[in-house]
Every structure is written in structure tokens, then in C-alpha cells.
């Protein structure tokens, strides 16, 4: 799978018309001989299959090549930026799960039609909001007007809150809806009636008995959302000027820095695939019924 991913990025990026060396140095520098020299140093004069196998071989050793722009190893460029992006994605995931599952559970448990309708409407609003716009509005309201948060800044927890809310809100909207729908199903089942008949409090039945079984669906959707959050971080980072992988890849595209684009895309795909595999294992833990498969 990752092999396929690396091959696809490699092929696509080498389909690009134009030559990074020419883009970078212009034609003036040392004439044709100088360009040839630079190409040779970067290994760009080798046949493409050879370049690809060299790339994969090196990647397996943790060498993703050297940035054409900065001259630094791609891996250390990524290493510098990765924590900020991961922190943002995970924080957004927390926002999404806490808000989404919380609101969804509340709507299912109270069986209020008004609440159910609002959840439905809010979830449509949530997925329709452009995150970058939401981010701008939050900056305006909470950072510039109320001054509760710094506008931009270093990687403290304080600066993470607004971006995490921005990125997590649409996912929370989806989760709220899924949680409500899942719980409403579960609450109709016999064992819930049994638990209630035993005289257990309603809140306890919802939280301990129903939620645990509704969790499967929630977990699946949350897992699917993760990739979206990771990719969405590219845009949210731009709104909040956070130095993460998003700004790295956008600048790399604008400057045709192929090794960096390739590296970032590969890292994103690796994280995505690993998370999906981890979720498969997690399903087994949450639901013993599917452990066999």
C-alpha cells in the first residue's frame, strides 16, 4: 500500500513539466555545464526507475532526500514541523469527540425533538462552514476583540485552542449526528429495558450500557474523520500561521521543491494508513464480536 503511495507521488511529481534545477538557478548560472553539474549532484540525470528505487531504498533508511530550496534533509524539515501538525490534529480530534459525542448523547438521551432537530441542523451547518472562514471569525472575536488568546504564536497549549476548535468543529458536527442516530438505535434494544427495569438510573444506563455499544459506529466515523482532519490542518495552519507540515507543503509547491512535497505527502499517507490499522485493532478491543476477523 505505502509502496503504491510512494510510486504514485513519485510518478506524478516527475510528470511535472519543467525542471527544478532550471527553475531554481535560472539559465544564467554557469551556463549549461553548471546546470548539468547540479542535476548530477541531485541525481536528476539518472533514468526514472533508477531514481525511484534509489528514493524508496533511501526512504526505508529514513532518508527522504534533500530540500532543493533550503539544502537541508527533508526528514529534518519534516521533523521540525510534524509535532505542530500532529498536536493540532489530535487536539481537533479531542474537540470533535468531546463535543460531538457529548451533544449527540444528550440529544439521544433526552429524546427531545427540539434537541434532535437542532443537532441535525447544526451538523449541516457544521459541515458547511469553510474552516478557514471560521478560523478568521474566531481570531477576530476571541483574539483581537476579547484578547483571550494570542493571535499567532509559538506552540503552547494556549495557541492551540482556537485552531483546534476551528479544525474540530466540522468533525464534531458529523460525530454528533452519528452518535445520536447510533444511540437512538441502541436505546430501543431489550437489554436497555432490562437495565431500566432493574431500577438503574437513566443517566447510568445511557452512559454505561448504551454508549459503550454505540461507540463502535462513533469510533469508525472518528477514524474516517482523522484523515480529513490531518488534511484540513494544511488549511487551518495557514489561517493561524502555524509552522506545520501544511505551510511546508504549500511553500514547497509554490517553489517546486519536489523532494519536500514528496516527503510530506508520504508522511501524511503513512500516518493515515497507520491510524487506520490502529483503528482496526481498536475495534476488536471495543467490540469482542469482531475480534475473530
Amino acid at each position: 500500500m505505502l509502496f503504491g503511495v510512494s510510486l504514485v507521488t513519485f510518478i506524478m511529481i516527475h510528470l511535472v513539466p519543467g525542471d527544478p534545477v532550471t527553475t531554481l538557478m535560472g539559465t544564467s548560472v554557469n551556463g549549461a555545464a553548471g546546470l548539468q553539474q547540479a542535476r548530477h549532484e541531485l541525481g536528476l540525470d539518472l533514468p526514472l526507475p533508477v531514481q525511484y528505487f534509489r528514493y524508496v531504498g533511501n526512504a526505508l533508511h529514513g532518508d527522504l532526500g534533500t530540500s532543493i530550496r533550503s539544502g537541508r534533509p527533508v526528514l529534518s524539515e519534516i521533523g521540525d514541523r510534524l509535532p505542530a501538525t500532529l498536536a493540532l490534529t489530535l487536539a481537533a480530534m479531542v474537540v470533535a469527540i468531546v463535543l460531538g459525542v457529548g451533544i449527540g448523547t444528550l440529544a439521544a438521551a433526552t429524546r427531545s425533538r427540539l434537541l434532535a432537530g437542532s443537532v441535525m441542523l447544526l451538523s449541516i451547518l457544521g459541515i458547511s462552514l469553510p474552516t478557514f472562514w471560521l478560523g478568521l471569525l474566531l481570531i477576530d472575536a476571541f483574539a483581537l476583540n476579547l484578547r483571550w488568546f494570542p493571535v499567532l504564536g509559538d506552540a503552547t497549549l494556549h495557541t492551540l485552542i482556537l485552531p483546534a476548535i476551528t479544525l474540530g468543529l466540522p468533525a464534531a458536527a458529523v460525530l454528533a449526528r452519528v452518535t445520536r442516530a447510533g444511540l437512538v438505535e441502541v436505546l430501543r434494544l431489550d437489554y436497555i429495558r432490562t437495565a431500566r427495569a432493574k431500577g438503574l438510573r437513566r443517566s447510568r444506563v445511557v452512559l454505561r450500557h448504551a454508549l459503550r455499544n454505540g461507540l463502535i459506529v462513533v469510533l469508525t466515523i472518528a477514524g474516517l474523520q482523522f484523515g480529513g482532519l490531518l488534511a484540513g490542518s494544511i488549511i487551518v495552519e495557514s489561517v493561524f500561521s502555524r509552522p506545520g507540515l501544511g505551510s511546508l507543503v504549500v511553500n514547497a509547491i509554490l517553489g517546486s521543491d519536489y523532494p519536500v512535497i514528496q516527503g510530506v505527502v508520504l508522511i501524511f499517507a503513512v500516518i493515515y494508513v497507520v491510524i487506520n490499522a490502529a483503528l482496526d485493532i481498536l475495534y476488536g478491543i471495543v467490540n469482542p464480536l469482531i475480534r475473530v476477523a
Binding site: 500500500m1 441542523l121 449541516i124
Partner: protein, 299 residues
């Protein structure tokens, strides 16, 4: 659709059936206020995309700069939504942006639908190694989160609005392929397909006239929902500078420009965002209800 057919009952003309179905559809639409609301928004959006530029009070790229007034200037009689940081009329730009957004959404989704439906039909109908090759390819594409896939494609094609449409379209192909394939698998073994095959109908006719017709509902729902998503993604890409370039009146790029003027000129940041949100809400509400409306089993 089912109704008692007496011996004396006249065979309804195709035209009558079509009219009655349309009537039913509208009646059911009215009973669902949220879906109706979505449909009205979408209708207005389409009308605005067609006539918006003609309604605009100014040229969306014209710069208004008079002595003593530094842009951005607040809403006034001449500029109801104010002017942006370079002195262009925000109202005219928002109106002109409707056409751009609709084009982006429709072109991107047309690309996704064409290739996705084609691959899904082939994959689901033929199965075997055709299915294997197509679906493994889609698996690899699905390993990239959508925006990232679009970004990879933009890397290849270059920065710009046209390339963003193509990129967003291609990035959505795997989702279409999967859904169409699943729908095809469900109808492939139906009796009418078997009958067509027994009559010796060629593969292409079975695929395009028997199967395609019966997987249209999921495709239509997906199209409505993904036009909204395509508009959001494309606006996001323009916002980070990979899509529409100034002075194109594109909503995402307008918000990018507004970033520096949050405090001094709220109007530059509010209106383009509101426009995106309303349009996408409309498309989502419509798409959400359309599935139930078009599904014959819920009648």
C-alpha cells in the same frame, strides 16, 4: 407507482406518467421544509450565477480610489457591502463569485462523476481482474486524504483555478467509484439484467441502459452533496494561494485578502464567507433529503 390496474383502465401515456411523477416529487418536496429550503437556496444560487454579474453595480475588478478615502471603505450607498483592501466593490465581487463557485463545483463534480461512474460500472459489472485492478488503484488514491490528493495533482498541473477544478474532481473519483460499484453489485444479479443478457444484449447496452438507470439515485445524491464539498475544498485551496489568483473575484481568495483587515474592515471577511456557507448549506440540505425523495421504496 403501484396502482390497481382494472381491465378498463386506459394505459397511461409516458407523458402522463412523467407528469404525475413530477407532481408527486414536488408534493413530497413541499412536505420536507428543510429539503425545500435547500432547494430554494440552490435555485437562487444558480440564478445568481447566471445573472449575478449583470446585477452587480460595479465591475468586480475595478478599483475605486478617490482622494482622501483609503480603501477598504465601509458599506455605503455606493458600495452596499463596502470595498476591499484594494478598493474593489465587495458586493460586485461576491455576486461575480457565485458564477465562479458554481463553475468550480459543477466542473469538479462532472469530472468525478464521469470517471467515477465509468470505473464503478466497469468494476462492478465485469468483476474479476478488471475489478481488482480498478479497486487496488482506488485504494492507493484513498490512502491520500482528499485535500492532499488535490494538492499532489496541483503540484503536477500547476497553481490556478482551472487546475484546482481538475484536481478536486480527480481527488473525488475514488469515492464515486466505490459507491457506484457497490450499487452495481446490488443490481447486477437482478432478473431484468439476467433477461437482457439472455436476449443477447451486448455488455455496453446492459451497462448503460439497464444498470446505469438503476444506480442513478445514489449518483444524484452524491453529486448534490459533493458539489458543496468541492466548492469548500476549492475555496480552501484558493485561500492558501494554490487556486484562483487575484484579482479574480473568488470567495476563497477574497477571504485570503481579508485576513489582514479583520479589525479594520470586517465586511471584507464576513460577506464572502457567508456566501460560501449559505450555498454549501443549501446543497447539503438538498442532497440530504434528495436520497429519500428519489428512493422509490420509501414512497
Amino acid at each position: 407507482m403501484l396502482q390497481p390496474m382494472g381491465i378498463a383502465a386506459p394505459v397511461p401515456l409516458d407523458r402522463d406518467v412523467a407528469r404525475r411523477r413530477r407532481g408527486q416529487f414536488l408534493r413530497r418536496l413541499i412536505r420536507r421544509p428543510l429539503t425545500l429550503f435547500g432547494a430554494i437556496i440552490v435555485l437562487l444560487f444558480v440564478l445568481l450565477a447566471i445573472f449575478g454579474p449583470a446585477l452587480a453595480p460595479h465591475d468586480p475588478t475595478e478599483i475605486f480610489y478617490s482622494a482622501g478615502v483609503t480603501p477598504p471603505s465601509p458599506p455605503s450607498a455606493a458600495f452596499p457591502l463596502g470595498t476591499d483592501s484594494t478598493g474593489r466593490d465587495v458586493l460586485s465581487r461576491v455576486l461575480a463569485g457565485a458564477r465562479i463557485s458554481l463553475t468550480v463545483g459543477v466542473v469538479a463534480v462532472a469530472i468525478a462523476t464521469f470517471f467515477g461512474a465509468l470505473l464503478g460500472l466497469l468494476s462492478g459489472y465485469f468483476g474479476g481482474w478488471t475489478d481488482q485492478i480498478i479497486m487496488r488503484l482506488m485504494d492507493v488514491m484513498l490512502a491520500f486524504p482528499d485535500i492532499l490528493l488535490a494538492i499532489v495533482i496541483i503540484t503536477v498541473l500547476g497553481v490556478g483555478l482551472t487546475n484546482v477544478m481538475i484536481a478536486v474532481g480527480i481527488a473525488a473519483v475514488p469515492a464515486y467509484t466505490r459507491i457506484v460499484r457497490a450499487a452495481v453489485l446490488a443490481v447486477r444479479e437482478q432478473d431484468y439484467v439476467e433477461a437482457a443478457r439472455a436476449f443477447g444484449a451486448p455488455h455496453w447496452r446492459i451497462i448503460f441502459s439497464h444498470i446505469l438507470r438503476n444506480v442513478l439515485t445514489p449518483i444524484i445524491v452524491l453529486v448534490t452533496l459533493s458539489i458543496g464539498l468541492a466548492i469548500l475544498t476549492a475555496a480552501g485551496l484558493s485561500f492558501v494561494g494554490l487556486g484562483a489568483q487575484p484579482p479574480t473575484p473568488e470567495w476563497g481568495d477574497m477571504l485570503n485578502d481579508a485576513q489582514g483587515y479583520l479589525q479594520s474592515a470586517w465586511w471584507t471577511a464576513v460577506f464572502p464567507g457567508v456566501a460560501i456557507m449559505i450555498v454549501v448549506v443549501g446543497l447539503n440540505l438538498l442532497g440530504d433529503g434528495l436520497g429519500d425523495l428519489l428512493d422509490p421504496t420509501t414512497r
